[in-house]
Amino acid sequence: MSRIITYAKAINEAYFQAMEQDPAVICFGLGIDDPKGVFGTTLGLQDRFGSARVFDMPTAENGMTGVAIGASLNGIRPVMCHQRLDFFLLALDQLVNNAAKWHYMFGGQDSVPITIRLIIGRGWGQGPTHSQNLQALFAHIPGLKVVMPTTAEDAKGLLLASIFDDNPVVFIEHRWLHNLEGHVPEEACRTPLGKAATVREGRDLTMVSFSYMTIEALHALDVLEKQGISCELIDLRSIKPLDWPTVFASVRKTGRLLALDTGPEFCSVAAEVVARVGMECFDALRQAPQRLALPDVPTPSSPSLKKVFYQRSEDIVQAVGGMLGRELSVAELEQQRTWPLDVPGEWFRGPF
């Protein structure tokens, strides 16, 4: 049975079911038991499972990541969360030097089954240190899995799969997805890591996307369809491992690739997608693959700069037009945007 719930609620449900299924699952993070419950994702957990398994922590990201790793070496499955990805950068040492390679550097003995939830901010002055899209940084580290669900259903299924994976998983949420609603199964379904979803089938061009960019792409696809262009949209879901067979098969069918990314373009996930497609599907490509990502600058705070910083559905339509050599209209998309660009909708008043 499935029903419609939000992405944040879906994450909350995954926690409940994981903690019910396995007493070894614990969770901690700054504010995990506070009245806001990390944007609603951790509400009720402490009441249900107690403060031994669900607890707030000192502002000590690096140390507490090491604590999670240590606990995991003795059969515990810690799930940490951070209200912004940026705060977790303090813990790169523990993540990269210990978690990512513990299994490998000791010849495949102990492993580190930890899940790190990170939230990417956007809008409302979430500037240089509160909105960084650094998935490529994590994906660059051998030994880490990186997951970025777009839909509520995948948020639940992938979080459950991440928690029960025997390796470190960096689970990245976009703040603008938490209020998104979708059908989510009631049961504790696990979505396998490393499997992409074909969100729309199409003939003319393959878009490879993930996280919030997939939402922008869906808006773009509707407008493209009305102008006679049929795009296939692949939502990666897992950045690493990445589902290359699904990507290659789609590009072989359409002959065109536009890789989308929420992060800065240099050394991005989109860059990797373009590179691999170029190497493996060269014969099938009808033109050079393209990518659409953020410019190579820190996030500015001012809305006037963010307007030119972020890529939106209009930019996707125009990129497709550029590839196909056609002048395409984005008027409909512009008309739909009746709210300021620094919030996901008129209703949004934070928290940020």
Partner: protein, 322 residues
């Protein structure tokens, strides 16, 4: 203490209070579109430290930096323009409320990653030592920041090299919604941690303005005369929500009674009452002081509102120094 210094302290604290409360009042116009951490209730420390330090001394701060910036002499117009994310802001609209700077005032920057500026203050202290000047480097931080590893690493190094650094911890008992009891072991004193690392450390009531001013003066004089780093911890309380313009005592992480008890101990009213009682100022002088400050604030808001947003091409400017 001369009345002159006490009256200046009152003016500075009032100014910080009125700025913060005007921001709170006007935030719902939705024109200050960035996370904004107000320091209402905590004006004392920023005002006192700023008053004692010289303009060529350095200061660094955190997400909650308006009072530190203004106390140190930071430009009000450019601060408000930054909170309005305008091109005339002190960071050109790139930073917002959490990233303030005024180099002329010696305010070297506030940042939003907890603990992030503590080592920078030690580095500025190192630069002062290398250059052999008599400046001081000061850093403001909260009770949450002392939980980060970088705090220990930085304080230790300042002690090792006896650098001219003033560490100022405003302990307001909370990190966002989390009380200190959930984050630090019972019975711990933050200043004792610093002392254990070899830095002369003291603490005091952060809502007793004249006592704070005395303690800061003593610490600064000691550092300036080559005494090495000093650590000051002041207990105080933020009145409004962690981030944003509202009161949030109803949501359950602290009690209305606790807030009201601190509000009773309003440091601005306390200093004003003390100065009136001893005849250092008259009621008329206080009223005139308030009027002058309000005029300055009104003009600064107007400047901020009327300033243009940064031009789109600014997006790509300043990634590297050219």
């Amino acid at each position: 203490m001369t009345d002159h210094r006490a009256v200046n302290l009152l003016r500075s604290m009032k100014r910080i209070r009125l700025v913060e409360e005007t921001i709170a009042e006007r935030y719902a116009e939705w024109k200050m579109r960035c996370p904004t951490h107000l320091c209402t209730g905590q004006e004392t420390v920023g005002a006192a430290v700023g008053q004692v330090l010289r303009p060529d001394d350095f200061a660094l701060s955190t997400h909650r930096s308006h009072g530190h910036y203004l106390g140190k002499g930071g430009d009000l117009k450019r601060m408000l323009a930054e909170i309005y994310l305008k091109g005339t802001g002190c960071s050109g609209g790139k930073g917002g409320s959490m990233h303030l700077i005024d180099r002329e005032a010696g305010f070297k920057g506030s940042t939003a990653i907890v603990g992030g500026t503590i080592p920078l203050a030690v580095g500025l202290g190192l630069s002062i030592a290398l250059k052999g000047s008599d400046q001081i480097s000061c850093v403001f931080f909260g009770d949450g920041a002392v939980e980060e590893g970088v705090f220990y690493e930085s304080v230790s190094f300042a002690a090792l090299k006896q650098l001219p650094v003033l560490f100022v911890c405003e302990n307001n008992f909370y990190s966002v919604y989390t009380p200190v009891a959930k984050r630090q072991p019972a019975g711990r004193a933050i200043h004792a941690l610093a002392a254990a690392m070899g830095v002369n450390a003291r603490h005091g009531d952060g809502n007793d303005p004249l006592a704070v001013l005395d303690q800061v003066e003593a610490a600064v004089a000691e550092i300036r005369s080559g005494g090495g780093p000093r650590f000051l911890e002041f207990e105080t309380y933020r009145w409004r929500e962690h981030c944003g313009p509202n009161y949030d005592n109803h949501i359950g992480y602290r009690t209305e009674a606790e807030f009201l008890a601190w509000k009773e101990r309003d440091p601005v009213l306390r200093l004003e009452a003390e100065l009136l009682a001893r005849g250092a100022v008259t009621g008329e002088q206080v009223a005139a002081m308030t009027d002058t400050i309000n005029e300055e604030i009104a003009a600064a808001f107007l400047f901020a509102e009327q300033s243009p947003f940064p031009a789109p091409e600014e997006l790509h400017a300043q990634v590297f120094k050219q």
